[in-house]
Symmetry: C2
Subunit: 413 residues, 2 copies
């Protein structure tokens, strides 16, 4: 058999990292394990009837266009609908050549990297940050440098320090990547003040801002904070959104917004990546949206997910030992745990699996394997009773780990 | 406004080439112009009723899985069906970890490049070759070196000469890219003898073979020739197929086959490119195939496209001046014209547009802008009456160009 090793590209040898989440998801198929693993929507809330109605209409009335190749930019009707949606919902003003439909927002990262990044480039990311974006960055052989966060998002003093220190070494980050709403994985939200100031810092250091907003419409308390893109007067913010969490992920549709010159390059990159996005999926989604079904559906889902969040927070408050810190997300899918520093959540994972509960190790969301004492919990696809039971199981595992540590410490005194 | 030029990657500045076909397709929307441009299937033949039946079933019975994220490798049922299809139809034997579903075959090129190619690498291509593959290669900053073809496909003596000459310069091509059946754009088919010998040459020079087969099932005369992949005992052939021409392009589904080690890397590359392919599209396509609808549909389409081919060839025989050489494809979508060397089809394009007929300039399918006297004609989406009329119009333009040349030559004598 052929030995392929000499054929692989540098990027495949050095840059490719299989996703830690995907490994963990394997345990999701064991029904005795309660999994707080993947950030999957709850299929119970999929808008089966209304989407079928839209799909039926398209297959009946628009077959010639919907089953054919489409333009690389995406179906015009859908892009126009989204332009209107962005203006009404988020005060983001766009022209038609500033938006392109992508295969979820994940393809947005890939195209962005293609258009902007050379091997060895530096980008800034939140710590912790979304694993899918980090994986894309690694695949393009760039160096993500991470900026610490607190309960109001990225810490801007730290950001400035990092920019200054990089500047001294003549390193200019191409962009800073942020998830301002109900961040994945940390569950925190970037305050309005910090959004304004972040844009100023980006201008000062001549960086682009890549703003990712998959969860922004799933709000459980407080008001919507406008996206950084809505404050962008220079065209320096690239804004990524997806239907995966507000409708469903099974069509893989997202939208990518940026200034015209950038979007033009992204369109060329997409031409050679996949020619175009599914016409059928785009027309069906457009029909669903045009009929006014999206907004009530998102509102309905927000009330359901809010209950799940409340259940998880209540169980954490009741069962977790006081040594564990946790975030209280006002939207989205995730609660972020910080265990005492002497605990290792990577190793503890196997004990949790034995106790029939799964999570995602927090270190996967960190650059350079930091964050060994952190954990991401997703409450999105677990039923409320199971959430309570799963937290109880996890609490037991953590409590035992703390007890073992305390006993060992006592002996060594 | 921000000046983005300093932000773009080297690949975006040096490697990105917008598709010449896409520019030409603009004229496809003018109904007074008969366009032999894009290689689009005829929407008349889209299997509207049967596909709707499959989609309805999936939306009714499999909603939870079909609207959710899926595995990066693709829906298992569809991959298993395709494994069976490949064995029965093409004598290609595969295991489950040797096949992955992609966004058409175009994403196959992209993932292949990601996994195999570094900037400056060399790959071999047929001359002429598929523009979408060339664009992908350019985007990864590699050097395509082209190998001449005749009416039986790539000329193997030329291939060996090129390999030897490159070897003297210490250049080792990573792979040779071929479209053996009804080639796009040349319309010719690689003979069985040459397929066998090509594989031997690839082994001798330690290259991989990338075999692309979008049109192989649309046969109008002669027998099916087995793919090179079916003769591959070393796992050195990568085989790309797509539903775009045998079903329809609107879901963007293809399948990528290769040895396990390679497919494993391709899966990792796809994880960061788009996470996974549309579950809904895959389940609906699987249902359509499982119900036995694909084969009769392909047979039906082959009879229809064969008529279009016959009409085009007949019109060419009748109206074209004897100076024009043309291929007679035994399947697929394309006829390839070679004009006298003194004619420039790039410049003639505008005269053709004035005469209300469009084609794709052949130089777009050549490396380094060669082939200025060549033209690709696609008969797939034009009605039979329009085919005859379009060929008549084009014949007039070509005849006039030849006349002008002859007059100028006579004067300068």
């Amino acid at each position: 058999m052929l030995d392929l090793d000499s054929f692989f590209s540098k990027r495949a040898v050095e840059g490719f990292k299989p996703s830690a989440i995907r490994e963990i998801l394997k345990y999701g198929s064991d029904p005795s394990i309660i999994s707080f693993g993947g950030g999957y929507p709850d299929p119970q809330y999929f808008p089966k009837e209304y989407f079928t109605e839209a799909m039926d209409y398209v297959l009946c009335s628009l077959t010639d266009k919907a089953l054919q190749y489409g333009s690389t930019e995406g179906v015009k009707e859908l892009r126009e609908w989204l332009i209107n949606f962005e203006e009404e919902e988020e005060k983001v003003k766009l022209e038609l050549d500033e938006i392109i439909i992508t295969i979820g927002s994940q393809q947005g990262f890939d195209l962005l990297c293609k258009v902007l990044l050379d091997p060895g480039d530096t980008v800034l990311v939140e710590e912790p940050s979304y694993i899918g974006a980090l994986t894309a960055f690694y695949g393009f052989q760039v160096n993500p440098v991470s900026v610490p966060m607190d309960e109001s998002g990225i810490i801007l003093e730290e950001l400035e320090n990092i920019c200054q220190n990089l500047g001294k070494k003549n390193i200019k980050p191409k962009f800073i990547y942020v998830i301002p709403n109900f961040q994945n994985p940390a569950g925190v939200t970037l305050s309005l003040e910090r959004r304004v100031r972040l844009l100023e810092i980006a201008s000062k250091y001549n960086m682009l801002v890549v703003e990712d907003n998959p969860y922004g419409d799933l709000i459980y308390e407080g008001d919507k904070i406008l996206p950084i893109k809505s404050m962008d007067t220079e065209g320096k913010v690239i804004y990524l959104r997806t239907f995966s969490k507000i409708l469903f992920p099974g069509l893989r549709l997202g939208w990518f917004m940026g200034n015209k010159a950038l979007v033009r390059k992204v369109v060329i990159a997409k031409q050679s990546s996949d020619l175009c996005t599914t016409s059928l999926g785009q027309y069906a989604t457009y029909e669903y949206c045009r009929r006014g079904y999206l907004k009530p559906h998102v509102e309905y889902m927000a009330t359901r997910y809010a209950r799940k969040r409340n259940t998880m927070i209540k169980a954490i408050e009741k069962y977790f030992p006081p040594e564990v810190k946790y975030t209280r997300p006002s939207g989205g899918y995730f609660v972020w745990l910080t265990l005492p520093e002497y605990l290792n959540a990577d190793e503890m994972f196997w004990k949790a699996i034995e106790a029939k509960v799964a999570y995602v190790i927090g270190s996967a969301f960190h650059v350079e394997g930091r964050g060994k004492n952190t954990i991401r919990l997703s409450f999105s696809q677990v039923g409320e009773t199971a959430i309570t039971e799963g937290i109880k199981r996890l609490a037991k595992v953590i409590t035992q780990e703390i007890d073992i540590f305390n006993k060992i410490s006592a002996i060594s005194l």
